[in-house]
Structure formats: C-alpha cells, structure tokens
C-alpha cells in the first residue's frame, strides 16, 4: 500500500512538472501570437512606438520585391509614407519555439497604396523572433508572392 502511495506521489510530481512546462510553452506561444498581431497592426498604423518595441535592433526585413530594410529604414519608410500599408489580414500557419528563438510561418494579404491606387499582395511569409529583454522581438522577415490561383 505504502509502495503504491509512493509511486502515485512520484507520478503526481512528474505530471505537475510537465504540466508547468507545457503551460509555460503555451503562454510563450500566446504572447508570440499577440506580438505578431501587434506588429501587423503597427505596420498599418505606421506606429513607430509599437514597431520600436516589437522589432529587434538587428532586424533584416526582406520585402517580397527583394528590397532589404534595416529596422530604422523600415520604420522610417512607414512613418514618411513611402511605404503605405492600407490593410493586412494574416493567418499564422505554424509556430515553433526553439529555446529563445521562434519561427512563425504564415500567409498575409497586404493592401498597399501605390501611386494613388491600392493593390493587394498575397504573400507567404516566415518571420523569426527572439526572446530578448523579456519580450518577443522580430529579427528577420522573408516573404514571397504567392502564385495567382489557377484559372478554372
């Protein structure tokens, strides 16, 4: 009986320890998803304060047209209106956390204002986030244009 109680206690402790770890991972993924949503919104709002927080100082942002921006160049282009995101809808397709690094893979439909007209870009993207200063910061972005849907 005593042996059963001891093993039950062992099992309970082990379960509690893994549950704590899973809960921690869930919380990190939730905070990462929130940071991603805040970042997309800040792009549309051209909000340098939020972008300053969610973008890593070492950011490498490669646009789907092959243009490469640093953090400063990216924020400046939004604030100056040289790059104007009118609207964005996005869908996260996968999130993975490797220690202090996270990989998000997703798709986004981005409406950009371009010479008085707006046009939609359908993108597949990967972004890399790092856990620094007690928050997630995006350190790299790569996107590519999705092929137009095949004619039916």
């Amino acid at each position: 009986m005593r042996r059963f109680a001891a093993f039950a206690a062992l099992f309970a402790v082990a379960t509690m320890m893994s549950a704590t770890s899973f809960a921690k991972d869930d919380a990190r993924i939730e905070s990462l998803r929130a940071a991603e949503a805040a970042r997309f919104k800040a792009n549309v709002d051209a909000d340098p304060k939020v972008l300053g927080q969610v973008l890593d100082d070492d950011l490498e942002y490669v646009h789907s047209n092959g243009e490469l921006n640093s953090k400063k160049e990216f924020i400046d282009s939004l604030v100056a209106g040289k790059r104007d995101y009118v609207a964005t809808t996005f869908e996260i397709q996968g999130v993975r956390i490797l220690g202090d690094v996270a990989i998000i893979r997703g798709t986004a439909k981005v409406t950009v204002a371009d010479g008085g007209q707006s046009r939609d870009l359908d993108l597949g993207y990967t972004d890399i986030w790092v856990w620094k200063d007690k928050r997630w910061q995006m350190t790299a972005w790569r996107s590519a244009r999705m092929p137009p849907p095949a004619a039916k």
Binding site: R2, E60, N65, G66, L98, D100, T126, A144, R145
Partner: protein, 154 residues
Amino acid sequence: MRSRFLFALLASLPLAASGAQSIEKSAPRGDEASARAALQARFDAALRADVPALEKLLADDLEYCGVSATCSTKTQYLASVQNGTRKFKSLVPKVERVTMYSDSAVLTGKVYALSIGDGTERQVDAYFLVVLAWRDGRWQMTNQSSTLLQPAPK
C-alpha cells in the same frame, strides 16, 4: 529504510529535472564556424542531389519555403531531390550574417542558383533565411525561407 529511500527519491525529483536541464545547456554545442560548415554542406549536398547526406543535414520537422511561397516538408523536399524536380547546375551561397542562440543559429545571406528543369536552365538568385537547430550533437536545418532578389515583373 524503504520509505526513507522513496522520500529521498521524491525529494530529488525536482533537482534531477533541473540537473538534467543544466547538463543539456552546458553540453558542447556547435559554434558559428560549425553552423557555417553545416549550411555549406547542405548546399553542397543539394547540388550533388545527395539524399543520404541531406537526410542527416535536414531536421525531421523541416519547413522549406521556396521563392514561390510554397513550403515543403522534409519528405516532400527529399522526394523532389530524388526524382530530379529540384536539380541544380550550380549553387553558390554567400552567408552574410550568423546569429547564435541557445539551441539554434540563424543564418542569412544570398544564394545564386542555376536550376535545371524541363530541359531548360534558369538563374534563381535569392535571399535566404535559414534556422539551424542543435540536435543529437549536430546542426540540423529546420527552416529555410527564400525571397527572389528581383522578382519577375508582372
């Protein structure tokens, strides 16, 4: 005696767990040079269409996202190398930045590729973003995502 032993075992569980964690963290992990070498080996193996080498260099949870925004799993990627869908005449990577993290390395740069498909050659130059994970005592590529340097005009 037995209950004392069980008590000691119970009490040591959290310590054992934290001990295991610290052993993992202090285990020798690849450095920047080995991360660069692993990436070069990956590109070389892709050029040779060397599936057994790629099998070791790619992580089982690989996400390979090409310049057309479509992503492949490891199985799909290896199948495309094996059946010749993904074939290169030359593949020249230029690593521009390597950032080391606790269990991973992020490498970015450009790759100049001459691909062969349907009897035609096509130059595909792209920015790459690669994440290597340190697993089983070696670097394994877990993500590659690319963007064309100059996308084709519409």
